[in-house]
Structure formats: structure tokens, C-alpha cells
Symmetry: C2
Subunit: 359 residues, 2 copies
């Protein structure tokens, strides 16, 4: 695509402001530059190899993925150190995992001995070995072995298996990352880290080597990233950001927007744009209108955004406006391309290569 | 893809039960078989040309699309009578509209004289003419001219323009379709239809020919479809259905599901599956677990579904279960393929060809 101006784009279009994106990546890289913990950014937010490679060039030690399909898409574009922070369950998935092992350095999470046994058996048959982290439930109530004895028991079982190497522990304090009050967020996060690092100590007392302790998100990067014994932090949303996370971590900027066109001005105080729930997700709230004083999104239907205009706010048919998503991770997943813009000019068009790769 | 059993599919996977899909299509076709109003099913729900062609073979007079991109995808697969029930605004979009005119019979909605003028000018330059319906806001508060005089004014302006042919009126009672109480739904729907058909009379008194009066959704198909003067009904969700619409129109069956795998059983009473908000949308509520007594979805994160199990409910690692989406239209939009299943066997794999075509 030849260089064009932002306003020439057909809409709706997913746009990232390059200056802000680069600034966010630099800021986070600077935070981790001199620390024990390193950054392993989660790419589930942007699903875009170009942004992952920018993060790696800025110093990240590797990337984190949520699904095998994401890891496959990233490995295909040259990313070579990947943690899939999730369980890989069932023969079909494990076959894909073993296939991917030849293409990049890879680790996955386990929380169940029978799953670990299946991975061990299949890896052994294939003449391969799989690096794993034990996922510990540090309070989120999703996956994960319980901290302490249950995790230790699992470690002991894995130690008996061949074709599977226990490299360390993983715990995600997802229940803490969005708490807006810093003191409360810190307090919840520290409880989670105590559980995770306490489990590390327990394993070490039993003779295990725990090389990796992985956790953290954008809302807790500074807390988890400073905690003794944590070796890597999985923050991801910081790069592109969204309106919800902006309430939690003000130091990063909302680089991600959906460009829309006003397609109807049917009544005073109302304008309708061409982006709805199929272009911007709403589970974390409505998107925020950028740069139009007095205009707010009052609701979205599937393909329309209905804007409320206060007196004095004026929008005309064909006007283009930008909406800042409340949840970047799921919004990006709706789009095939990201238009990278600087100073109103589209510099690059990137594939959202891992879009829809939930399998 | 060779024929395989449902349980061999890698997950998450979007699945449609063919018997139920065909039953829904037949039931709706039967309703419209002998009526003045004809069915013009909205394909924004399934975004799948194969399902659109099934609907046409069953007697539908054409299809409805929400966006030009959907219409392009459908026309490319042989659908030849399309209403884009939306405004087409801006030169880029109108160029695409004029390009598409050569490939199928097409009509669009207008609600603004300046937009109509731009379409007229561009059509004239291209030596083409565009069929339009005036969109009337029948109470939904989205797009549309006001019923009555405002719509008549617009009709008079369009009548002065060349390259644009006024074919009739369109109004969508989207504010009524989800009202669960039938009496209230009917009452709201009739108010909307009175406004729409009243506007028709006004135009006719002024000498306009109003050949098309288009409206309706799955929740109001029987009310709008029986109303004198309505010529076509845009119901779409009835074909695949979802958990929310099932509360409104019990006569259609939920044919759409997302197949998932249990990837973790970390604690008594909790199981975690591999489908989250990136596979099933939640704006209309959580998905419903199919066929597992005592199991309910308690929450979704992006790539996980957390299930609550009552005492006695048992799920094991690697078990496959189906979730019924609360909102089919946005859920389908997350997937690239639909696996069409009959009696536990995958008979066909269909492209969601209009997935993501929001531009």
C-alpha cells in the first residue's frame, strides 16, 4: 500500500500511533534494562509480528503467547523465544506443539500430572523434549496448581517423567492488574507473589532448580518486575494500551484507535459512525471519542456507533474520528490489518497475523 | 478436509448443527411462502455464502447485508440480489458501490440529502444508477430520516436527482426485537410499523411509487411479516439462532455452538475450557453449556472459559463440550470457518467469507 494520509483510509480501520507505540515500548524497556527480572511481553494484545519484533529489538528476552496458534504465527515470522502461558491439552495440540519445537525455543505451562504424562509420552516417541513451567494459581481462580504442596507434588511427578523438563514456575495475578487504587493493587499483587515465590522456595528446599519465575501484567509490571526472585514479566497491553488500562497505568499512552466515518447525522445531538461491536469490543465499557469536545459514545450496535453530542459539539457527514477502545486485546482480534501512522501519515500496514488464532 | 467426527476437531471450533439449521430455514420459508411480504434474510449473522445460498434455495427473494464489504463477499460467491441496509458515505465507499453494481442487483439505504446528492453525482459520472430506500427511524434512535414529513422532504429532493432511483422505504424496529413479552413486543413493533406505513401513505399521496417497504428482525418476523403493506422482512438470526434470541422466539433452535476442550480441572467444582472472549462474545451475556447437567459458565477471560460445576457434575481433562453463544452475530465474526455437523459427523467446512468485512 502506498503511503497515504490517515484521512484517506477506508473505515472502520484499526490504527496505531507510531510515536506513542515506540514511546511505550521504550519506557517499558527502560524499566527492565537494569533489573533481575526481564521483560517477556505478551503478544495476545497486538497479535502482530512487527510489534513483537520491535519489542525484542528494544531488549525483551522473548515473547509470551496465550495459544499455540499465536506462537505458530509468531514463529513463522522469525520470533524465536516463546512461552505459551497456557495448558496444551489433547493429542492434536501436543502434535502441533512437538512440530513447533523445531522452529523456535519454546516453553509451555502445565498444571496437571496426566497432561504432563501425555506430553512426556508423546515427546519421547517423537525423540523430543518439552520445557515446561508449572502454572500456580496465585489467586485468580482460573488454571493452575495450588501454591505450595500441590505444586511441589506435581514437580515431583514431572521429575519422574522423560521428555519433559521442568524449568520453573508461572503465576498470573490477573485478579490484581486492573485494580485502580495503587495501594490495593500492590497489596493484592504482593499476596500473589508471596504465594508464587513461597512455592519456589519449597521446590528449592526439595532440591529442584527453579530457573524461571514468570508472572505479571501491565497493571503490575513495576511491582512484579521489582520483586526479588521473579525472572520475567509477561506485560503486554502497555505497548498499544486502551482506555481501561489507562485508568490503571497512566505512564503509558493510548496508541491504538479505530478510525471511523460519520455516516448519519439524523437528529440534533446525535451522530452515527460506521464502527460498532464488530470493530470495537465493549466488555470493558464503551470506547472513548478522541479529540472531539462534547462527543461521547452512547452505545454501539453491531456496525454502528451512536454518538451523543452536547450543545456546541459538531460533527458532519463524512467526518473521520478516532475511537479509543476500552479493551485493546479483543478489539485487535477483530481486524486483519493495523495501519501504523505518524503525524497523520500511514507509514506501514501490518498483518494481525495471529488474529483469530485461538486454537 | 476429509469427513471427521465432531470430537476430532481441534478446538475452539465454530460448529453448526445441520439438521437444526435446515429446520430453521424451512420453518421461516414456510411462514413466508404464501404472504405478501417476502423474506430477505440478513446475512450479518452467519456471514457465510453457503448458508445464504441455502436460504435463497428455500425461497428467500434476496439477502440483506449490513456493510458493503459483506455484499462484496456475498456477490463474489454468486448471490445476486442484495440490499445493503445502511448508508454508503464518502467517495471511497461510493466508488466501491458503483463497482459492485455491475455484479449483482443492489439497493442501499439513504437518510440524508447531501449523501444522496454525492451518490447521484458519482453515479451519473460513471454512467450508472443506484437504487435506494429511504431509511426511516421508526423508534430505534440510530440512523434514518424522521417518519412523515422529513422522509417526504428527502423523497422530493431525491426525485430531483439523476442516477439515483427511489424504490421505497426501510425501517428497522431494532428497539422491539428483543422484548421477551410477546404483547409488549407486538405493541412496540406495531407503533414502528404504523410510522413506517404512515410514511408510505404520505409519499403515495404525493405521487411517489413506493414499491418496497423493508423491515423486521427475527424477534418480529411474524408481526412485521403479516403487516399489510410490508413487502420484505430482514430477519437473519433465525437461521443459526443464539441463547438470547431463544428467549424471544422459541420456535427456532440454537444451531450454532462453539466446541471447546477441557484444559484444566484445577479445583473441585471448577473446570476450564479453551474458549474465551476471543471465541465467544459476551455483550449479551455468558454462553450456555450444552448437555452437561450442573455445569454453567461462570466467566470468560480472553482465551479461557471458567465453568462452575455443581456437586455431581463431572468433567475430565480433554473432554469436549459445546457452548451456545448468547450472541451469534458477533461470535461468528470471530471465526474463519464453520464446521457443519450432522449426527456427530462433520459434513462440510464453510468459509465465514464476510468475517471482519466491516468496511
Amino acid at each position: 500500500m502506498p503511503v497515504c494520509s490517515l484521512n484517506e483510509l477506508d473505515t472502520p480501520a484499526l490504527v496505531v500511533d507510531l510515536d506513542l507505540l515506540e514511546g511505550n515500548i521504550r519506557k517499558m524497556a527502560d524499566f527492565f534494562a537494569e533489573r533481575e527480572a526481564k521483560l517477556r511481553p505478551h503478544v495476545k494484545t497486538h497479535k502482530c509480528p512487527e510489534i513483537a519484533l520491535m519489542q525484542l529489538r528494544a531488549g525483551a528476552k522473548g515473547i509470551t503467547c496465550a495459544k499455540l496458534g499465536e506462537a505458530e504465527a509468531m514463529a513463522a515470522r522469525g520470533v524465536d523465544d516463546i512461552l505459551v502461558a497456557n495448558q496444551i491439552v489433547g493429542r492434536k495440540k501436543i502434535e502441533r506443539l512437538l512440530e513447533l519445537l523445531g522452529k523456535c525455543n519454546l516453553a509451555i505451562a502445565v498444571d496437571d500430572p496426566s497432561n504432563a504424562q501425555t506430553i512426556s509420552d508423546m515427546a519421547l516417541s517423537a525423540g523430543k523434549s518439552v520445557d515446561v513451567l508449572i502454572e500456580v494459581d496465585v489467586g485468580m481462580g482460573r488454571c493452575g496448581a495450588k501454591p505450595g504442596k500441590e505444586a511441589l507434588q506435581l514437580a515431583k511427578k514431572i521429575a519422574q517423567m522423560k521428555g519433559i523438563n521442568l524449568r520453573g514456575l508461572m503465576g498470573y495475578e490477573g485478579h490484581a492488574v486492573y485494580i485502580e487504587n495503587y495501594g490495593e493493587r500492590r497489596s493484592e499483587c504482593l499476596k500473589a507473589l508471596n504465594a508464587l515465590l513461597g512455592t519456589k522456595s519449597l521446590l528449592e528446599e526439595d532440591g529442584f532448580e527453579v530457573g524461571v519465575v514468570s508472572g505479571g501484567g501491565t497493571g503490575t509490571y513495576d511491582i512484579t518486575g521489582s520483586y526479588p526472585g521473579v525472572t520475567e514479566v509477561q506485560a503486554g497491553s502497555y505497548a498499544t494500551m486502551d482506555a481501561r488500562y489507562k485508568k490503571v497505568v497512566q505512564e503509558f499512552d493510548c496508541a491504538l484507535r479505530v478510525l471511523t466515518t460519520v455516516i448519519s447525522c439524523p437528529a440534533p445531538g446525535r451522530a452515527v459512525v460506521d464502527a460498532g461491536m464488530k470493530s470495537i469490543t465493549t466488555e470493558f465499557g464503551l470506547p472513548v471519542v478522541k479529540g472531539v469536545e462534547g462527543a461521547t459514545v452512547s452505545r454501539l450496535s453491531e456496525e454502528h456507533g451512536i454518538l451523543k453530542l452536547e450543545e456546541g459539539a459538531k460533527l458532519c457527514l463524512e467526518d473521520k474520528i478516532e475511537l479509543i477502545p476500552s479493551h485493546g486485546c479483543t478489539t485487535v482480534n477483530l481486524h486483519e490489518k493495523i495501519f501504523a501512522v505518524r503525524g497523520g501519515v500511514v507509514e506501514s500496514v501490518w498483518d494481525v497475523a495471529a488474529r483469530g488464532k485461538s486454537a
